[in-house]
Amino acid sequence: MSEYGLFMIFFAAAFFNNFVLIQFLGICPFLGVSKRVESSLGMGMAVLFVMTLASLITWMLHEFLLFPLGLDYLRTITFILVIASLVQFVELFVQKASPTLYKALGIFLPLITTNCAVMGLAIMNVTEGLNIIQTLVHALGAAAGFTLVLVMLAGLREHLEIHDVPKPLAGVPVALLAAGILALAFSGFVL
């Protein structure tokens, strides 16, 4: 069914249909972790890592197990378990393999389980009938878009912090307004 250019899939996921700003996936970490540019980058890398692996594994589970056996109704339960265990596994692995990387990514990993961008991506890959290569590119695009807007918002928030923001707006409300303006800019891709 889907026979679209890989380039298009990547750019759609990263820009036109940005996972965070246009599709509202991964809002919690977007607001929670976007206080510092450095931590945003860390979160972005962790998401890239988990998104890519989770997409590939869930795609294969769907393609070779759930769909052939007519067990589509177990999709949600399977995918969330895969993502949760994957996050655990990655955390253990990174901790052993590269303590430096663990230091950088470690605290973000548990947050990813409830990052709906990962789950949303996994579901979209199979419902939109992407093949394995398209799935991979879709994951890379989604993660790139996620990291990009996360870092952008963090940059804005770092600046906002040193300015005198009206008290009721301070913190999350002003971050949401900034996100709204970013979303306006991203909507410009389709105009």
Partner: protein
Amino acid sequence: MKAALRMIFVLGLIAAVAGGALAGVNAWTAPIIEENTATRLQETLASVLDADEFELQEDTEQTLWHGYRNGELMGYVVRLRVGSYSPAGIDTLVGLDTEGNVQGVFIFGHSETPGLGDKIEEKWFLEQFIGLGIGDDIARGVDVDGITGATVSANAVMTAVRNSVRFVGEYAGLIDEPGIINLADVPDGTYTGTARGFIDNIVVEVTIEDGKLVSVVVIEENETASYAGPVYDQLPQAMVDEQKIDVDIVSGSTGTSQGLINAVKDALAQFATGDIEIDQLAGGIYRGEALGYDGKIVVEAEIVDGQLVAVTVLEHNDTPGIGGVAFETMIERLLAAQTLDVDAVSGATHSSQGLLDALKDAFRGAPRIEISRMEDGTYFGEAESFGGLLKLKAVVADGQLVSVEVLDHSDTPSYANPAFEEMIEDLLAAQTLDVDLVSGATISSQGLLDALKAALGSAPRLDLSQVPDGTYTGRADSFGGELELEVTVADGVITDITVVSHSDTPDYANPAFEELAETVVDEQDIYVDAVSGATISSRGWLSALEEALRQAVTD
């Protein structure tokens, strides 16, 4: 250890109960969901085509339903997916009536940006497609308006409708098969062609050398690079490699692929077999009309033996001084060139083009045969009938059909012979070919009529059976000069043909003459093929032979 076992047991139990509960509810809801989906599909199909029963067709290139009302075919519904911003593209349903006109468009599914891309679902946008059909462009700014802020999504829908119309057009046989282009028949050269791609026109240059396609170069285009790139990389190469134009398209870039293929076809269209070739036309009188400079031009053209022998302008409104001269000049050029591909008369381009268009129109129709205008003589013709080839002989004298004789046929005699008799009687009485077929033997009657048309569409021929016994001398121009021969007829049979004198190169001519004489005596037919390698000598010889026998008949 005990704790670990308990952990596994509890988690396993929860998973088992969860799985069981899900399987149970799934068994309950799945049939309901399936039925709802089917009902919704029928309702959706009915929203784009006024029918109450839809039947999914198998083995079609695109998903296709036939729509029926009271058992009568009302039209078709095509479902296809076109690429746009979102990875899954836009899923469309287009309903078309049996003539290929759009009855309704429905967006089956899309994941375009909410608020912008989803404007493609708006009524005003989808309704503007209704009534468009095979002859329409279905393109933004031509017959459909786009959507500000959703250009790409709207264009994708236009492509979907355009492709659906084309698909049904081909599926239902509403679009004529485009002429087949035989690359070997294309003269060397570089040709330019244009066709619409996904977004805009694609212009290509096609180079042919020694009847082979050597290059296809895109010289102008405005396609999306990411989609079109692979098309430009793969298709021209595939065309050159496979030496054909209809190569496999690049999946995902159907619009651009099809555009490129059509542009190449356009470049070579003048050599397509679909074009009019005068020497392939059946004999007879053709009448056609087209628009000239000022109103209608009606022409009549006569074809005899695959030759254009006369063109008459019956009616026109063009400026007499300019138009009249232009017609005369054009007719001269046409008769000389024996093709419609002649230059227009400068200063009277419209009249010239009008004349050509009228001729094209004429030659697309069936010829008419007017017995009263036929030259006196004996005509021979053959056509396919019920059991095989039917051959006949017809005699025209003083503009009247005086006799028709079936020489050979393979139809069942008990049916065919009475039918032939009846047909011939009718034909002679009516003095026109527009007679009713004999019921019960329609195919045989049609065969006779076709053979008669073929006969009267060719030049009259000599009837050997009318040649008295004797030896006759004939002369004609040949390759090196005049050729003279003697032919001997005994008991209505040609027994001997001898060349008395000729000025052709003996090495080539003599063997050819011997071969021709042998064939004519064997087949008792003086209209045989020329000997290859000595064509002009053969023609001279055959002309001299006909001349000799013709004298015998008239003497």
